[in-house]
C-alpha cells in the first residue's frame, strides 16, 4: 500500500438487508484467490460475517473489511450491514469509502434502506455505482430493477451492461462500452461470444443512450457527439470515470453473486472506472481555532485521518479502525488526537481482513488501517500531525428510537451489566445506556428491537451476563392542583426528652416545569436560622414520593408560615427550641400527601 494507493479502491457495499452484499464480497474474495472455497451466507462460512449473532441471523450486523488484490489493484471492500437496526454502522463506515456500490436485488427492487444509504452517500458526496444482483433468481427482472433505481436513487443510474437470458437462463452479460458479450459456464469462467442476434437492436439503442448520458459529464464531448463524431471507447471510459466522480450519474452493472456471473467484469470496472483515494477532492475540516482548513489526499501533506469504527476483538483487544485522509503513518509511532487533545502512541499498524488482522508497515491517503489497544481514542475522533492540527466533522450515529429496561437474571449483577455493556457501547455508537433516576431502571436504547436483542446476546456470549428485557416504566410525576393549608404536629412524651412541635405550611400549585420552591415565611425570626435548611431538606426528601403512586411530586410551593414549639414545664420535657425535630418531622408528613 502506501504510495501505491493510486491502485487502491475503497468500495462500500451498501443496500438493504438480503440484497447480497456479503455474498458479493465473498465471491470477489474467492475470485481474487484469497479463499479456497466461496463463503456462503446460507452455510454460515463467510469471511465477512463471523460473529455467531450474524451467522444465526444470516445477516451482517456489523461492517466487515477485506482487501483483495485484483489485476495489480487493491480492492478494499467495506461490507456494511443493510438491516435497519444496524444502519448506523453502515452510515459511519461509508465515510471511509471512495465509492458506494449500491447492490440492488433484481427480485425485490430498491427497498427503503437502500434509499436511506443512498442518501448517506449523497450527504458525504460519495460517487455511486449500482450492481443489480440475483438476476439468476426466479422473478428477477433487470428492466424493473433499473426502473426502480431510476425512480428512487440519485445520482441518475445509467445502464452499462445488459444481461443475456433471464432467471434460470441468465448466463451472460453484454458490455455496452466494449460492445462485447460474455458467456459464463457453471464455475464462473467467462468466454467471449457474439452479441446474441435477438439482442442486437436493444444493444444498439442502449449504447446510444449510454453515450448520450456519459457525454453529459463533459461539455466538449457532448458537442462533438451532437456534431456526429464518433467517440472512442477510451474517451468514453475516461468521461465515465469523470462523471462518476462528480456524481453526474451512477453506472448500472449486473450479474449474480451466487452464480459468479459478471463478477470479473465488476472487479475490472472497479479498477478502471472508480476513483482512487488520490483522485478525491480535498477533505474539509477546521483548525482548533475554528478556521476552515482542508487536506488533499496526498502522501506529502501532513498526516490526518479519522476513526470511524471501534471493534472489541477477542484476541487483539480493542481495535480502533481509522481512515487516513492525508499524509502517511508508519508501522508504529505517535499521533495527535485533535478531538481529545492528547497525544497517543500505537505499537503496530494493522490491516483488517475479515476477522483477522495483518501487520502493515505504512499507510497512505485512503488506507483503512487499525490500531490495537488505544486508550483515549474513540469512534468519531480526528487524528492528525501535532504540528498541523485539523478537525473533521464526523458523521453522527443515527438517533435512538427504542428503549428497553434491563433486569439482571442473577441479583447483584447490576455492576457487571454496566461494565460489560460499556465495552459493547464502544463498538456500537448507536447504543445508549443510562440509568433513570426516577424509575430506578437501567435503560438500553438503540435503533430497534433486533438491535437491542443482538446486543443482549453478545453480552451473554462475551461476558456471560444474562439480562431480561422489559418495557421501561414511565417516569410519572405528581403535583397538586389546589392551594391548601396544612398543620403538622409532633409530640413525643414517652421516654427521654419530651418534644412538641406544631407547624403550618401553605402548599400551592406552580406552573408546569417550575419544580419545587420552599419559602420561609415566618415573621419575626422565631426559628433559629440554622434549622431552616434542615426543614427544607426534609421537604425535598419527602416530595420524592407523591401520594398517588409514590412518584416525585413537583411544581408546587411550600410556604412555612407558622411554627410553635413548646417547652414543657415538666422536668422531662426539657427540649427547648429543638426545632429540627419538632418542625422537620411534621413538615415531612403533609408534603407527600399534598
Amino acid at each position: 500500500m502506501g504510495h501505491m494507493n493510486e491502485t487502491l479502491r475503497n468500495v462500500a457495499l451498501v443496500a438493504h438487508g438480503g440484497a447480497g452484499k456479503t455474498s458479493l464480497a465473498e465471491i470477489m474474495i474467492n475470485k481474487a484467490g484469497m479463499t479456497t472455497r466461496i463463503g456462503r451466507v446460507e452455510d454460515g462460512n463467510t469471511v465477512m460475517d463471523f460473529e455467531p449473532e450474524e451467522l444465526k441471523r444470516q445477516a451482517s450486523l456489523s461492517t466487515g473489511f477485506f482487501q483483495l488484490p485484483w489485476k495489480k489493484h487493491t480492492i478494499s471492500l467495506i461490507d456494511t450491514p443493510g438491516d435497519q437496526n444496524f444502519i448506523s454502522d453502515a452510515k459511519l463506515c461509508m465515510q471511509a469509502a471512495e465509492t458506494a456500490m449500491i447492490v440492488v436485488d433484481a427480485v425485490d427492487g430498491v427497498k427503503v434502506q437502500t434509499e436511506q444509504v443512498a442518501e448517506f452517500a449523497s450527504e458525504y458526496g460519495l460517487p455511486c455505482a449500482i450492481f443489480i444482483n440475483k438476476l439468476d433468481r426466479e422473478r428477477a427482472d433487470f428492466t424493473r430493477a433499473v426502473d426502480d433505481a431510476v425512480q428512487c436513487l440519485s445520482p441518475k443510474p445509467i445502464i452499462l451492461q445488459l444481461p443475456i437470458g433471464a432467471e434460470a437462463d441468465f448466463n451472460g452479460i453484454v458490455d455496452l462500452i466494449g460492445m462485447k458479450a460474455y458467456q459464463y459456464d457453471d464455475s464462473g469462467n467467462a468466454s467471449e461470444i457474439d452479441i446474441p442476434a435477438d439482442m442486437q437492436d436493444t444493444v444498439e439503442t442502449e449504447r446510444e443512450t449510454l453515450i448520450e448520458n456519459v457525454a453529459e459529464a463533459d461539455d466538449a464531448l457532448i458537442e462533438r457527439y451532437l456534431e456526429g463524431e464518433t467517440i472512442s471507447n477510451q474517451e468514453l471510459r475516461d468521461t465515465l470515470k469523470k462523471g462518476i466522480l462528480s456524481r453526474t450519474f451512477a453506472p448500472v452493472l449486473c450479474g449474480s453473486a451466487t452464480h459468479d456471473i459478471g463478477i470479473d467484469l465488476l472487479m475490472d470496472f472497479i479498477n478502471t472506472c472508480l476513483p482512487s483515494p488520490l483522485e478525491m477532492p480535498p477533505k474539509q475540516g477546521v483548525t482548533p481555532k475554528d478556521e476552515p482548513a482542508e487536506r488533499k489526499p496526498d502522501p506529502s501533506e501532513p498526516f490526518s485521518g479519522f476513526v470511524f469504527k471501534t471493534v472489541a476483538d477477542p484476541y487483539a483487544g480493542r481495535l480502533t479502525i481509522l481512515k487516513v485522509v492525508s499524509g502517511k503513518l508508519g508501522g508504529d509511532g505517535t499521533f495527535y488526537n485533535a478531538t481529545k487533545e492528547t497525544r497517543e502512541r500505537y505499537n503496530q499498524l494493522l490491516t483488517i481482513a475479515g476477522k483477522e488482522q495483518k501487520p502493515a508497515t505504512e499507510a497512505g491517503p485512503g488506507s483503512i488501517v487499525a490500531m490495537a489497544k488505544l486508550k483515549e481514542t474513540k469512534t468519531g475522533d480526528t487524528l492528525c500531525d501535532e504540528g498541523n492540527k485539523i478537525l473533521y466533522t464526523c458523521a453522527t450515529p443515527m438517533p435512538i428510537l427504542i428503549s428497553f429496561a434491563l433486569e439482571s437474571k442473577a441479583t447483584g449483577d447490576e455492576d457487571k451489566i454496566y461494565i460489560s455493556l460499556s465495552k459493547l457501547l464502544e463498538e456500537d455508537t448507536s447504543l445508549k445506556l443510562e440509568r433513570n433516576a426516577e424509575t430506578k431502571e437501567i435503560l438500553l436504547s438503540g435503533l430497534g428491537q433486533v438491535h437491542i436483542e443482538s446486543t443482549i446476546e453478545k453480552l451473554k456470549r462475551k461476558f456471560n451476563v444474562e439480562v431480561i428485557l422489559k418495557t421501561p416504566k414511565i417516569p410519572y410525576r405528581e403535583t397538586i392542583k389546589k392551594k391548601v393549608r396544612v398543620q403538622g404536629k409532633h409530640k413525643k412524651q414517652s421516654g427521654g426528652h419530651g418534644q412538641y412541635g406544631d407547624c403550618w405550611i401553605v402548599m400551592e400549585p406552580l406552573p408546569r416545569g417550575t419544580g419545587f420552591e420552599f419559602v420561609d415565611a415566618i415573621v419575626g425570626g422565631v426559628i433559629p436560622k440554622q434549622y431552616i435548611p434542615a426543614v427544607e431538606k426534609g421537604i425535598v426528601e419527602a416530595c420524592q414520593k407523591g401520594p398517588l403512586i409514590g412518584a416525585p411530586c413537583v411544581d408546587f410551593r411550600a410556604r412555612w408560615i407558622l411554627a410553635v414549639t413548646m417547652r414543657s414545664t415538666h422536668r422531662k420535657w426539657r427540649s427547648r427550641w429543638r426545632v429540627h425535630w419538632p418542625i422537620k418531622k411534621p413538615a415531612m408528613k403533609p408534603i407527600p400527601f399534598c
Partner: protein, 114 residues
C-alpha cells in the same frame, strides 16, 4: 398522630394529579401513509401540531404522551413498510387525563404490591 391526620386532609384538599412526560414526535413519511399515521397518532392521545413537506416526504409534528409511543419504532415500520422514520424528544410534563390516570394508578399500585 396529628401529622397523619393533617396529610390525609391535605390529600383530599390539594387535589393531587398524575403528570406524565409528553414527547415531541417528528414523523417523516411518504405522502401515501399520511392518513394512517395521523389517525394512529390520534388514537395514541397525540396532538398533531402541523405538517411540512420535505422533498417527496411529509413531516408531521406532534405531541404524544411517552406511555403511548414506547413501541412506536416497530409500529411505524409496519404501518409504512419501513418508509416512515421518526425522532422523539422530551417536551414537558402534562396532566394525565382523569379516565386514564385511574387505570394507571391501579396498575402501578398492583405492580408495587408484587
Amino acid at each position: 398522630m396529628a401529622g397523619s391526620l393533617a396529610y390525609k386532609k391535605a390529600c383530599d384538599e390539594a387535589n393531587p394529579v398524575l403528570l406524565e412526560p409528553i414527547m415531541k414526535v417528528t414523523v417523516t413519511t411518504p405522502d401515501e401513509y399520511m392518513g394512517d399515521i395521523m389517525g394512529d397518532l390520534n388514537s395514541r392521545r397525540g396532538r398533531v401540531l402541523g405538517m411540512d413537506s420535505a422533498g417527496k416526504n411529509q413531516v408531521i409534528n406532534a405531541e404524544v404522551p411517552l406511555a403511548e409511543v414506547q413501541t412506536y419504532a416497530p409500529d411505524l415500520r409496519s404501518m409504512t413498510g419501513g418508509r416512515g422514520m421518526y425522532s422523539m424528544e422530551f417536551l414537558r410534563y402534562d396532566e394525565v387525563p382523569n379516565q386514564i390516570s385511574g387505570k394507571v394508578i391501579e396498575q402501578i399500585k398492583a405492580e408495587q404490591e408484587e
